[in-house]
């Protein structure tokens, strides 16, 4: 069976693990460990290797969802996990002091992958911090990656995450039957 993968990436606390958990039909596997100084302020544990969850499709095929660790000291995992992925879901934490720098940092980090695949962006925690707004993110992306889906996302909300994945899928192939 082929391994179709979707990659979830983004900074620490963006909600990657939560997003995978909310969209998977089966309980995902996580690799949580005590957070370092960098991420300790926002949460006690963080992903150190990867998150892994599956969506069982009709029949025997499975869609594999991989979440990368957010901490940059584990960035070697980003390349490893992105191999063979069909698309990237990038989550950005809107409560970060400078979310645009986070956005551009991850776009640079996954530049090669984005060139040959598709990306969608989910902005999380917009209920806690309403600015920057989605239009501001679109303005940031205008000259870098125009016309890609950027949605406000509650990572705990299955509909939000599923809609993000759907946008990724239809961007990959427009000839989808409803």
């Amino acid at each position: 069976m082929d391994n179709y993968k979707i990659l979830f990436a983004g900074p620490v606390s963006a909600g990657k693990t939560t997003a995978i958990t909310s969209v998977c039909a089966t309980p995902p596997l996580t690799t949580e460990a005590q957070a370092t100084d960098i991420s300790r302020d926002s949460k006690t544990t963080t992903t150190v290797a990867m998150d892994y969850g599956t969506m069982q499709l009709l029949g025997i095929e499975t869609l594999h969802l991989y979440g990368t660790p957010g901490e940059t000291r584990f960035d070697f995992m980003w390349d490893i996990l992105s191999k063979g992925s069909i698309g990237l879901v990038l989550l950005i934490d809107n409560t970060h002091p400078d979310p645009f720098s986070e956005l551009h940092f991850f776009l640079r980090a996954f530049k090669k992958f984005i060139k040959k695949s598709r990306i969608v962006i989910g902005i999380t925690k917009t209920d806690i911090c309403v600015t920057p707004r989605i239009n501001d993110y679109q303005a940031q992306l205008r000259n870098v990656l125009p016309n890609i889906p950027v949605f406000s996302v509650d990572a705990r909300n299955q509909i939000d995450v599923a809609l993000l994945i759907e946008a990724l899928m239809v961007s990959l192939d427009l000839e989808l039957a409803a």
Partner: protein, 442 residues
Amino acid sequence: MKVQKQSNDTPIEQSFIATCATPQKADYRPLKVALLDINERLENRLRYFFSDRCQGDYVVDVDPQSADICLIDLDGLRGKSYWAKHAEHQHNCPAILLSLHKTEVENAKWLQKPLQANLLHSELEKIREKLHLQQRQATPASLPNSSAETEVALSGHHQELRRKIKSLQAVLKKEEIRRAQLNVCRQGDNPPLLSEPADVPTRQISVGNQEIKTAVPFIGSTPDVDLDNETQRAWVQYDPKKFLIGRVQKAIKLAETSGRPVSISSSHGSITIVPMTREVLVEIDGQRLQSLASQPVNDDEYQLSVQDSVCDIPGQTHRRPVEAFVWELTLWTSLGRIPVNVSPNNTVIFKHWPNLTRLQIFPQATRIAALWAKQTHTLASTAQALEIPQRYVFSFFSAAHAIGLATTEEAISEEIASEENPVKSNSNRTLFRKILRQLSLH
């Protein structure tokens, strides 16, 4: 480092994906559910859940007095007072209480947020059974077509068949009313709403019945027309200025230029645009607003006035982001049509994807957005490229146009149509189809 398994919580939306088992019901009257202090997003999901996965077994009722079941969010601003009031006055109306933290309650069922769809469905079904039992005990002879003996004798298959027929009848009745309203709106035009125009080529429609059913309130049911035929084209056009959306857009402009709240007052209630927070305060309930949105307005029906502050705004209101409000109001107005000044043969200029997770989603919206983000198309060619009815494209365009994300080029270039890139097929299509079916958002 340890590898751990997470808990197997299934949020409510999960069950939008997992098919709800068709329950064996004895009473197929849709139960009315009052949503008290439920926020807009959860309300939208519940409406969808009731109509789609519960197949119309439950409907939202704006009046708690006439509701069969009350759903109360205790974490809302007025949730606890609603519950206190309910507990005091409505002993016979079962209640389901929602909150993030465990709450001990008597005479009601408590469910933890985020809602688990299976649990909610199970509780609703228990209440249905209980109500039905009470009804049968109270009026044993009031069921001429479904006596207890008959109910027992009916096989599961027959019950299911009858439920489907009832559901179909309800849909047809609703559609009949809607079409009657549309005909009133279009007096003089007499579009052939009940049948396809004779000269319109038959097109393969790729949307399923279930999708059509759930999408009708937003995309209408106007059949495809020959867009080169001026008369037929007029059938799929509407003038926003003649509807409530026109007044709302005028109020938004006024609020933005003045920097002060602007109210639209009417006998139905007020709508206030607050430019500072980009919110709309709506006094009119959703169902009435939907009805008002599709009706042409009289000149003196809605009065605009600039307010000094939001403190001047009277009454109880719902808060909505301006964009989400305008998007939804436009869908209710458009019903599968396009603004009168837009030519369907002009190229669509698409600014960027709408923030679809915070807007009223409807079938085909992501596909249309993806197509316009990738390729240049006219409205007419979009429907052809995606093999979907025109009304989906027109609705999406109207809504995106209303929030400033889509417009059309002035000049018509005939070459564009021939130069438009064919939609590329992807080798992973089978997989994607499965994924979308699994996601099953619509």
